[in-house]
Symmetry: C2
Subunit: 268 residues, 2 copies
């Protein structure tokens, strides 16, 4: 098996370049770092192309069996080389290169047509911070959301920090990247109501009716949803605030609304 | 007014060192960067010692009036110097040096004795990531929590990224740093029930009774609360999970429980 010890090795240089968005777009590849993230990628049967590993960083005993399950080309790296490729403070010895995920609204429609329950979607419009987008994906997984549509992405879903903060739920979720316009048409066509949280709404989010087909829409950290979305929202709700700052982190706010949907759908 | 144009200026070097925890501890000072953060600091009447500013980075028109309200020594910096001091990608031209906040459990007891409602506290045990601790503080502000006790801190509350991700709610909140042992004694003495979220609990968090005096306790990102806390928890609750990853970000989970307390206390 190949072992790379030089920082100048072209395979390392090519992989390291995938930290950059432009490079990801041009190659249609991205990086998946970490045991938990790779595990969920394998569970979701996503293709993995190359797997760089460094046993000196392994934290447990299951790394080699996971490596075998990936079906990827395995390349061992020296500690120094692996550290260069890693974007973590404490690497765990596994970084993969994989083809990007490209699901469409048509794919989502097909998936939803097989479900028996009312659609439960999340729209993330132009979220800026990868950590927030990843945390939203993690909450969507926990809440059992059917799918997430990332609209007009500011941060692409293949950003290494999205993968990391999603703890691999990027792979367990049905994630679509799409334009706002086509997404608005899609939702209307399917009869899915848009829910928007805004400080200007009168209705408290725990008093709204969340039992029908829903898409919870959330916008940028700075300004929230754009007018295009806010004006099309069928249900506008308010999250009550009792402090001085009058604001929640976007992922926290999303999680609140998701779990209110669950509370209403599961409570007698 | 003084204007600094040299990166070697000792005032800049001293301030830049406050990015480092050891330096913060030794000097008992910390950095507050950003307009919103400083505004809340001023609103909360916290002392500010020195304010470095750089008009070229200002985003609005209110910076100078805020500067005047701080009562701090004002020091203008060149763009290059300010960028060195800043820890943000997009600095907004304001960074202050202030004495650290040191509130005690006794201070908290005095504050609570003046309240007429059932105490509503949050315990954050050994949170590792500054971003998570700051996001928790932000949710605590939104939920109108009476106070936050940061126990056995892994990340100190004066970390620049706590200030940033709290969006300044570090100042609007009553935040105490304390040892777990003394905090457990304090809560017992005051008759405040400890609520812990754990996947092992049978009771769903929306079914628990959150109307009495409460402290919501949350633990590290990796392992949650330590046994010391989990065993003393009066109410153990479960957040239902419907996905493959079976986990939420610690700040998201905290926000859910805080808003369930609010829902129960404000609903008829």
């Amino acid at each position: 098996m190949e072992k790379i010890t030089s920082l100048q090795n072209p395979k390392i240089k090519d992989a390291a370049r995938l930290h950059d968005r432009k490079e990801r777009r041009e190659t249609d590849l991205f990086l998946i770092e970490g045991y938990r993230e790779l595990l969920r990628c394998v569970q979701a049967k996503q293709t993995i192309q190359t797997l760089f590993f460094c046993p000196e960083f392994f934290l447990g005993d299951n790394e080699r069996s996971l490596m075998a399950q990936t079906g990827a080309t395995l390349i061992e790296c020296s500690k120094e080389v692996f550290a260069k490729l890693s974007y973590r403070d404490r690497p765990d010895g596994l970084i993969a290169v994989a083809p990007q995920l490209h699901r469409t609204l048509d794919d989502l429609a097909t998936m939803l047509s097989k479900k028996k329950t009312a659609p439960f979607l999340v729209i993330a419009e132009s979220i800026e911070k990868p950590g927030n987008l990843g945390t939203i994906l993690r909450s969507c997984d926990a809440a059992g959301v059917d799918g997430v549509i990332v609209c007009d992405p500011t941060t692409d879903i293949h950003n290494p920090n999205v993968v990391r903060s999603s703890v691999g739920t990027l792979f367990t979720q049905f994630v679509v990247e799409a334009k706002s316009e086509e997404t608005l048409r899609f939702l209307k066509q399917k009869g899915i109501s848009i829910v928007a949280a805004t400080p200007h709404a009168k209705l408290t989010f725990t008093k709204a009716d969340f039992t029908g087909p829903l898409a919870i829409a959330v916008g940028t950290e700075q300004i929230g949803l754009t007018d295009a979305w806010m004006q099309k929202a069928d249900i506008q709700v308010r999250i009550p605030m009792f402090g001085m700052a009058d604001s929640l982190n976007v992922a926290s706010a999303t999680t609140l609304v998701l779990y209110e949907v669950i509370r209403q759908r599961t409570s007698p």
